[in-house]
Symmetry: C2
Subunit: 355 residues, 2 copies
C-alpha cells in the first residue's frame, strides 16, 4: 500500500497495522519529521519516498526520494499498490484522493476534508472511511430500517473549561485533548467542534442520510449509534484507538484482536452531554450545513486559515469559530458544479481571509 | 396465534403487539385474573379460552372455556394458529413448549424455564426467545468472529439495600423492582439474581457458547453486548419494555416504531457494576452451572419451591438462594438422558424440599 502522511498519528497507526498483518508498504509520504520517517524506511523498506520540502531530501536515508504535491500524485499513478491510505491533513488531501480514484485504487480515507469539501464529486465505491465514528456506524449497519444515526464527540480540550475564559486560552491548552492523541489541526478542530461538523458532513455523504446528530460522550468509548425505526439503538464500543478503523479500512474484515476490549466494570460509568452552542458556536449552523453540503468547501477553507492563524498566535481561540461562521454567511450562495469549482471556491475563500 | 399467560405482563404486551399489527388471536390461556381476561376476550374475540381453575369457568364471558394443563395442550394441538406465545411461569411452561414443537408451531418463548431445565432436549429451529437480553444479543449478531457475550442485569429490588438487612426484607419490598414491571416470580428471581443465571443458561443454549457473563447496568437501557475478537463490542439500547422482543419474536422483523427511542441526553449517564457474590450468593456457582447445564432442572425446581415459600412467608429472602445452592450441591450428579428424566428429576427435587 501507499501511506500518505506516514509520520502523523494515523500514519503511525497504519504502520502498526501493516506490521501486525505483514502488509507490504510500497510508498511512504511524509512531511518534515525526517527522523521518524527514516525509522519507518528502515523497517518497512518502501520502494519510494515523498516528502514536503526539497531541502530535506539529503536527510532521508533512501535512494528514491522526491518532494511536493505533484510527486505524491505521480507516486500514486506509478505505484502497483492496490490501496492508498490517505492521512494527509486538510484540503491538500483532496487531489491525492481524486488521483487514487482515477487510478482505481482502494482508498482508506482519513483525510476527512476530501468528503467535506467535495463529497458531491467523489465516487465512493472504493472508499473506506478511517474515522472511529463512521467506522462505528458502518459496523452497526444491519438489514433493518434505520431512522437516524448519532455520532459522539469527546467535547475536546475545553469541554470543562470556564466559558468566560475561553477567549484567553493558550495554544498549548488547546492542543491538550482529553481522550485522543492526534495531530494539531484535528485537535483544534475537536476543541471548536468543527471536527464533529466535518464528520456529520462525511456521514451524510457516506450513508446518504441527513438524519444525523452528535452528542458528547465524555470517555470516547461509544463512537456511534444507529437508531432504528423500531425504537432500538445499537452502539459501537471500543477503546479510543484508530487501529481498528484502519484495520477494517485496509483489510475489509478483521477477526483477530486489534484492541483490548473495553471492560465496562472498570469504566464504571458513561456520561452523555448535549453539544452546547455557547461553548461550541459552530454548532449554531449544524442544520444549515447538513441542509446544504455545498458549504463544506467554504467551512473548510475558512477553518484551515483560522486554525493556522491561531497556531501562529495571530488570533484568539474564539476567533477560529467566528471566522468560519463569517465565511459561511459571506459565501452562503456557493454552488459548485464541478470539481474545478471546488478548487476555485477554496482559493476564493482563502484569498479573502489571507488578504 | 395462541397466547399462554395472556393476563401477565408479557401476555398484556403481546396483546399490545397483536393490536398494533392486527394479528389474529385464536386462543387465550390465563390464570385467575378473570376480570382482565374478560376484557381481552371482548377485544380479541378468541375462538377458545383456557383458564387454571374449574370454579372460575362460569365467570368467563365465552362459550368455549376449559381449564387445566391438559386443556392447554389440547388447545395447542387443535389450533390452526402457526405461533404460540408461551408466557407461562415456571416448570409448568415446559409441556406446552414441547407440545408446540411437536405440532410444528413457531414458538415465541418467554417461559425461560423450558430452556433452563430441558434445553438439551429442545429443538430450537422454530423458537424465538422473548427476553430483552437474548433479543439484544440476536439483534447484534453480525458476520464477525465473536469472542464472548455479555448480558446486563438491573440488580433487582435490593441492589442498593444495606447488605446486613437483607435477611429481614419483606415480601412487599422484594416485589418492588426498580426498572421492570413484571410478575411476582420473576421479580423475586431478579432480586436473587437467579433470573440472570437462568438467562445465561438460556443464552448458552440459544447461542451455543459458554463464553457468557453478566454485569449490572442500573438503568436497564443496555440489554446485551456482543464482544468481538477484534476488540470491539456492540450494545443494544432500548427502553425497558418487552414489546420490542415480542414484536420480533412474533413478526420475525419489524420496521415500524414499537418503542420510543432512548434519548441519551435525557438519560445523562449509564452506570456499570459487578454482580457481587455477597449480595447475590447464587453468583458463586455461575461457572459451575455454565459448565454443567444439566443442573438447570435442579436449580429451577429448588428455586420454584423456595420462591413460593418466601411468598407464603415461610422462609426469609436469603433462604431462597440458600435452598438453591443446597439443591445444586445435593443433586450435583444428575445426568438427564431424556425429557422423561427431566420430569423425574424435577419431581425428585421438589419432593425433597416439600417434605
Amino acid at each position: 500500500m501507499i501511506v500518505l502522511g506516514s509520520t502523523g498519528s494515523i500514519g503511525v497507526n497504519t504502520l502498526n497495522i501493516a506490521r501486525k498483518f505483514k502488509l507490504n508498504v510500497e510508498v511512504l509520504v511524509a512531511g518534515t519529521n525526517i527522523e521518524l520517517l527514516n525509522k519507518q524506511i528502515e523497517e518497512f523498506k518502501p520502494k519510494k519516498v515523498v516528502i514536503s520540502r526539497k531541502e530535506d531530501i539529503h536527510k532521508v536515508n533512501h535512494t528514491n526520494v522526491s518532494f511536493g504535491e505533484d510527486a505524491i500524485l505521480k507516486a500514486i499513478e506509478e505505484s502497483e499498490a492496490k490501496t492508498v491510505v490517505n492521512a494527509l491533513v486538510g484540503f491538500l488531501g483532496l487531489r491525492p484522493t481524486l488521483k487514487a480514484i482515477e487510478c482505481k485504487k482502494k482508498i482508506a480515507l482519513a483525510n476527512k476534508e476530501s468528503l467535506v469539501v467535495a463529497g458531491k464529486f467523489i465516487d465512493q465505491t472504493k472508499l473506506s472511511p478511517i474515522d472511529s465514528e463512521h467506522f462505528a456506524l458502518w459496523y452497526l449497519l444491519q438489514d433493518k430500517k434505520i431512522s437516524s444515526m448519532t455520532i459522539t464527540a469527546s467535547g475536546g480540550s475545553f469541554r470543562d473549561y470556564p466559558l468566560e475564559k475561553l477567549k484567553d486560552v493558550s495554544i498549548k491548552e488547546a492542543l491538550n485533548h482529553p481522550n485522543w492523541s492526534m495531530g494539531n489541526k484535528i485537535t483544534i478542530d475537536s476543541a471548536t467542534m468543527t471536527n464533529k461538523m466535518f464528520e456529520l458532513m462525511e456521514a451524510a455523504w457516506l450513508f446518504d442520510t441527513r438524519k444525523l446528530d452528535a452528542i458528547i460522550e465524555t470517555k470516547s468509548l461509544i463512537h456511534g449509534l444507529v437508531n432504528f425505526e423500531d425504537g432500538s439503538s445499537t452502539a459501537h464500543i471500543a477503546n479510543a484507538s484508530m487501529q481498528l478503523p484502519i484495520a477494517y479500512a485496509i483489510l475489509g474484515k478483521c477477526d483477530e484482536q486489534v484492541l483490548q476490549p473495553v471492560d465496562l466494570l472498570k469504566v464504571g460509568s458513561l456520561e452523555f452531554r448535549e453539544i452546547d452552542k455557547q461553548r461550541y458556536p459552530i454548532w449554531e449552523v449544524k442544520d444549515t450545513i447538513l441542509g446544504n453540503l455545498d458549504l463544506g468547501v467554504v467551512l473548510n477553507a475558512a477553518n484551515e486559515v483560522a486554525v493556522s492563524r491561531f497556531l501562529n498566535s495571530e488570533i484568539s481561540f474564539l476567533d477560529v469559530s467566528k471566522m468560519s461562521l463569517d465565511a459561511l454567511e459571506r459565501f452562503s450562495s456557493v454552488k459548485p458544479n464541478s470539481i474545478d469549482d471546488i478548487f476555485e471556491i477554496d482559493k476564493e475563500v482563502r484569498s479573502y481571509y489571507d488578504s
